[in-house]
Amino acid sequence: MTRLHPNEQELMAYAAGNLSAGKLLCIATHIEYCEQCRADIKRLADMGGSFLETAETAPLSEDLFERIMSKAASLPEIKSGDQTAPSVAETATCRRAAGQPLKSLIPRPLMKLIPDGYDALPWKRLGKSLRITYLPVGDSQYEVSMQRIAPGGKVFEHGHRGEEVTIVLKGSFSDHEGCYQPGDFVVRNTEDQHEPVASSDTECICLSLLSEPIRFTGPLTRLMNPFLQVNK
């Protein structure tokens, strides 16, 4: 069966910061759309706080407090918010505060990677209706990429050697198991083969995480496999 959310272990590892960059990014993106997982993450943060509260203690160097205070004194006073990447962060927050539907925006976790919108990314065409681009996330375990399927377009039947997570960002796609909407966290495992089709009225843009390259399994499309190498 297809899961549409990260499972509780993945959420726990996310909330604890115990995942590699690619997975952190994918779960963060899903959470932008999913109120239920957001609520879970809040609970898990409270759990972290409780664990910290009841943690054992480890002795600190005697001069550590003085070092912290002298460093604090040398830092400029911060008045409000953070100064890192103000333009990007501010736009996202403002647009969201204005009550615009989240679906029309680039999710906040991806804004640094997609600063000028989806169109500006270096898409590579793979067949008539599929384009793909890799995102430089800096993850040695997983490849993070984006797919863009034309309205009604088909992604040829393919199988997976490893784990594949797909998050719909825009539009929708379907396969033999169901239809997936923005925010859905679609998990595929080794045995699965599927042939996703974008909905006919609008293009579909997805974020995906792959532990090993996809294999096209159709007789002709198999020739494209070398183009899909995970490039680390």
Partner: protein, 194 residues
């Protein structure tokens, strides 16, 4: 004098943190004395990827306490307990230090991975947020020791379930069921949170 009473409850620590925002050095010292050694033990337990755990641990304490000092005006006691706020600062800092350590060429950091905390949602139900925080704390306290220990090993120490099974000398299935039971009690199994 007020500051002679030692803070005990989460609400007490929130008050101390609010004083820190008012640049009260004595309150900051109190917070440091309490959370510093706990942050260090958290860091020592989750130091995979750092060549010198003790150096990393003290650096994390230093960086987190500096953030506490500099960002305490952003703390909203209506939204979260002081310990939750400090925990998320520590988690984010650890993720950033780890990435810096791995020389990641991309500028992604904890603000991208955990954007929620930097945001101000006006529609957040504060009363609800505090109730949830209390429920989670109480549920955690009431867990049987074995369940809590396993949960802590996964969450705080970043161990895989397999590693936890080996560390505790129990079968993997036992670890899995303990985590499931614990998460059920914490209302963290999907479909049960509302």
């Amino acid at each position: 004098m007020q500051s002679d009473t030692h803070p005990k409850t989460p609400a007490d620590w929130s008050k101390v943190l609010v004083k820190v925002a008012g640049r009260d050095q004595q309150a900051f010292r109190k917070l440091y004395d309490h959370f510093g050694p706990r942050l260090k033990s958290y860091a020592l337990k989750n130091s995979a990827g750092f060549s010198s755990p003790s150096q990393f641990a003290e650096e994390l304490v230093q960086e987190v306490m500096l953030l506490v000092w500099n960002k305490s005006h952003l703390f909203d006691s209506n939204k979260a307990a002081a310990s939750t706020w400090i925990f998320t600062l520590a988690r984010n800092k650890r993720v950033d230090m780890l990435r810096k350590n791995q020389n990641s060429e991309v500028s992604l950091d904890s603000e991208d991975f955990f954007p929620e905390e930097t945001d101000d949602f006006d529609h957040v139900d504060h009363l609800h947020a505090r109730q949830v925080g209390r429920q989670v704390r109480e549920a955690l306290m009431e867990l049987p020791d074995m369940q809590r220990q396993v949960l802590q090993a996964v969450y705080i120490e970043g161990k895989t379930q397999q590693e936890v099974a080996e560390a505790f000398g129990v079968p993997l299935g036992t670890v899995k069921s303990r985590i499931r039971l614990a998460m059920e009690k914490l209302k963290l199994l999907h479909g049960e949170v509302n």
